[in-house]
């Protein structure tokens, strides 16, 4: 089980909005593929997968905000 978390984006950035999921629950995902795109007011930031697996759960829907370190999805 692997938790996809919103990484540190730099001092002063505490949260970002999920703009776009590149995958959905049940999808096979692969190491280095883009999972989710988050946005701040000036930047869009893609979070990539660290290993192969299947998306078990998506915890933050498109349009919702997440805090740094918050779990965005679970991969099995």
């Amino acid at each position: 089980m692997y938790h996809v978390v919103l990484p540190e984006l730099g001092e002063g950035i505490e949260k970002a909005m999920v703009a776009f999921w590149h995958c959905k629950v049940g999808d096979q995902v692969y190491k280095d593929s883009d999972l989710v795109e988050l946005v701040t007011d000036k930047a869009a930031f893609n979070v990539a997968c660290d290993f192969d697996g299947v998306i078990k759960e998506v915890l933050i829907a498109e349009g919702q905000e997440a805090k740094i370190g918050q779990v965005l999805a679970v991969i099995e």
């Binding site: 984006l9 946005v39 007011d41 930031f45 893609n46």
Partner: protein, 221 residues
């Protein structure tokens, strides 16, 4: 205009002058270069101009496009949704568009610092023309008084950046009446509208590259 594009190519070292290039073509080039830089290739900074086009960032509200579809079609203006931060932006000849493809893994993985540095490049570049510009808390871009002169919106993949800056040099500012720029309901400015005289396009690019190299520790050769 656009004598920016008529200028001799400035392609040197990390900087690549694409001249006047279709937005979609430049976007593909950025994505290809991002993949190369992720794999360890040298960083690149693309300089270019685009034919008139409207781009919508991920946060964009189509309500910020004030012109009707018919008006846009009459001008031959395309609308593209893209993966960058920010709202609706207009690109047109006379606007120096800068796409830095930089590896933030080498720069402390600090997105906020990168955005600050990018704005700082624009602020220092404008000082070459004796234009005093500032950031505005809570608003994107770089400003001269109440007027916006530089738009900022970036994308990041695996800590490698794309998208970047749009600096109005001698853009036809009447085009901005088609939109509510960046959702901010502001008026736009250009270097020429502020200083009241024409600027040499080749000098514009050279000045920009010098400031960029100094501020973002990029090698010129």
């Amino acid at each position: 205009m656009s004598d920016l594009t008529a200028a001799q190519s400035l392609t040197t070292g990390s900087f690549v002058d694409l001249g006047l290039i279709d937005y979609s073509q430049a976007y593909r080039l950025q994505k290809e270069t991002v993949a190369q830089v992720i794999a360890g290739a040298p960083e690149r900074v693309f300089l270019c101009e685009h034919p008139v086009v409207l781009t919508l960032g991920r946060m964009a509200d189509r309500g910020y496009i004030l012109a009707s579809k018919d008006e846009l079609a009459a001008h031959g203006i395309e609308i593209l949704s893209i993966d960058r931060g920010g709202e609706v932006t207009l690109h047109a000849p006379g606007q120096l568009v800068v796409y830095p493809i930089l590896d933030l893994r080498k720069r402390g993985k600090n997105l906020k610092q990168y955005l600050y540095d990018l704005e700082e490049v624009a602020i220092q570049f404008l000082q070459h023309y004796k234009i005093f510009s500032v950031r505005k808390p809570g608003k994107t871009g770089v400003w001269v008084g109440a007027q916006k002169i530089v738009s900022v919106g970036v994308g990041v993949r695996k800590w490698v950046t794309y998208h970047g800056l749009g600096i109005n040099i001698n853009t036809d500012l009447t085009l901005f009446s088609l939109i509510n720029p960046c959702g901010l309901n502001v008026t736009m400015a250009s270097i020429e509208s502020i200083i009241g005289q024409a600027v040499m396009s080749q000098k514009v690019k050279q000045d920009f590259c010098e400031v960029f190299m100094r501020s973002l520790r990029l090698k010129g050769n």
